[in-house]
Amino acid sequence: MTPVPSRERRVNRTMQTFLTTTLLITVIALLVRGLKVRFPSDFLNGMELGLLAALPVGMGVLLYRAYRQLDEYGQRLQERAAGLAFLLSMVATMVGYWVQTLAGVQIPLWTVYVFGLLVYSVSVQLQKRAG
């Protein structure tokens, strides 16, 4: 079996930590939310808010760590994909806004996130093929 280079092992470890941490915080936040519904209190309310605030911070720190561990080619792929996803998401948001205004329909906000993540994933894969 081909050994996995240490650079890849480090990135994989960080990504595993990222997924575990994100899942853990989400599960605890959901548990706290469940408790809050049954036993409403300021303490649980504050705890839920704190956990929800910790989630993006934790994700940001771990994603940044993973990015720093990538080599130069990996970083270039991610940067290009992120740039393209950001730009197209901005365009999609504007188009979505016009459609909402002109057609009088409601487009949920999460579609922008899904669109951005899709563009990001497709962009990374296309760049891996094209170089």
Binding site: P5, S6, R7, Y73
Partner: protein
């Protein structure tokens, strides 16, 4: 004017040393994907990485990377 494409001799030198892409990646501290992108010419390395390659493969940079011959 389009810039000249750059070719390289990394694959030939690597195989002559009996190394796999994973071996070279480990020695360069990069991923296998990066080694593959370098060998197939999809990615031109930064100067620091080019110097690491040069040192590792015991070849001057100009022997590792050279412009693709232009057809008339």
């Amino acid at each position: 004017m389009t810039p000249d494409a750059v070719r390289n001799a990394i694959r030939d030198l690597r195989t002559s040393l009996g190394w796999t892409q994973a071996d070279l990646a480990e020695r360069l501290d990069v991923s296998r994907q990066t080694v593959n992108a370098l060998e197939t010419g999809k990615y031109d390395p930064s100067l620091p990485l080019a110097f690491r390659l040069s040192k590792l493969l015991s070849k001057p940079i100009e022997e590792l990377f050279f412009p693709e011959p232009q057809g008339d």
